[in-house]
Amino acid sequence: MKYIPFFGCMMATKYPWFEAAVRQSLARVGMELIDVDGFTCCPDPIYFQARDKMEWYTIAARNISLAEDLGYDIVTTCSGCTATLSEVNLALKEDETLRKEINRRLKRINREYKGSIDVRHAVTVLRDDFGIDRVEETVTRPLEGLKVAVHYGCHLLKPSRVMRVDDPDHPTILETLLRAIGAEPIHHEMTLLCCGRACITDSIPEHMLGDILDAVKSHDADCMGLICPTCFDEFDLGQIVLGRKLGKTFDVPIVYYFQLLGIAQGMGTEEVGLHMHKVKLDRVFDVVKR
């Protein structure tokens, strides 16, 4: 099955090893990714949406229209891109007046938004289009004994009216996908807390970050698993910065789900860039070696 990948700015320019893990692991499941030239920033759901919502709709609609030319659904790998492209896609499909206004703007560059495709995060496509059994079939090295604390992040699930992925208060999609690769998901009391990236002050996200990391540690997890490069940024580099400020070492390794999927399918830890992380992933390496 064919999909158009939308990797977004963060992954392309800060975490290319995530992109490598995504490309290879999804190919093994049978997802054919057709690259499209000319995508820009989704644009980002926090700052750009805060700037001007109509401009936000317009740029997102341009991105979606590029994929519409090929006629395949967009698959996203960042929760921020998922939030923007899903919300704009639904708003323009539902609201004819808005669609007309955005198309009036798109005409300036001879483009048109049609509302002919869907936008979904890669984990949703894995579950719904390929199935958990298919994911399991691709596993050659089950990550048995690896305890992964789940972090959902906000924008895979909410607003549920838009995302329609899972129960926002009791999701199971990531736990299911972790079990499929042989890992043991740990659902802890802070599993659904936001990473705090959008707040303008430091104190709110710092306290949230501290609580999440402490919760992960208290459950004796080997690492924290997530599906968004912005959450990753907040937790990997973020815990070093916060640790310095507090005179404390959290030492909670963070992994992106598709790195684990790739490893379980036989990719090397360096191929998925585990050596690039700020917090070292010794426990993951131990499991892989066994």
Partner: protein, 161 residues
């Protein structure tokens, strides 16, 4: 709220009209102040200042001075959308807060950070920066090169609004 007990206020309907004219801003009218948005709001739970119900109340009363400012509490919204899940009135508080932020930007009253990050999209097509180091990293990980971002298209697209 800055007002003192017993002090009288006129509802500033002109501010509410301004908010109604921004995308999704009209939703503030649906709020009946039940407070369902507050309990699971992470910014409320991790600070004393942020309260989505009070932000909506200020919008309903038209307290522009407290909402439209780079120091306004609205900038501490986590954008997690939990309030939108809880709201029985479909106010979608995050979207109202975003509409308030749009007014801040229009009136030059947004924090510099917000302006700078969103400006970057129009200058380079992305919010982050592509560096030669990252171009090399992309090669090392066997990834296709980034062919550049169509900034001219974006400029044309947004011209005239």
């Amino acid at each position: 709220m800055k007002s003192q007990p017993g002090e009288k206020h006129q509802v500033a309907f002109e501010f509410r009209e301004k908010l109604n004219a921004i995308a999704e801003g009209f939703r503030h009218n649906y709020c009946y102040q039940c407070g369902a948005c507050v309990g699971d709001c992470p910014a409320s739970n991790y600070s004393t200042g942020f309260n989505p119900r009070l932000i909506l109340l200020k919008a309903l009363l038209g307290f522009a001075d407290e909402l439209i400012s780079p120091d306004s509490e609205i900038w501490n919204c986590t954008n997690c959308y939990t309030c939108s899940e809880r709201c029985p009135q479909d106010v979608r508080p995050v979207d109202v807060i975003i509409a308030l932020k749009n007014i801040c930007i229009k009136e030059g009253k947004a924090p510099d950070l917000v302006r700078n990050v969103s400006d970057a999209v129009l200058v380079s097509g992305i919010t982050t920066k592509m560096t030669t180091l990252m171009e090399r990293r992309r090669q090392e990980f066997g990834l296709p090169p980034i062919k550049g971002y169509p900034v001219d298209d974006l400029k044309k697209l947004l011209a005239g609004d």
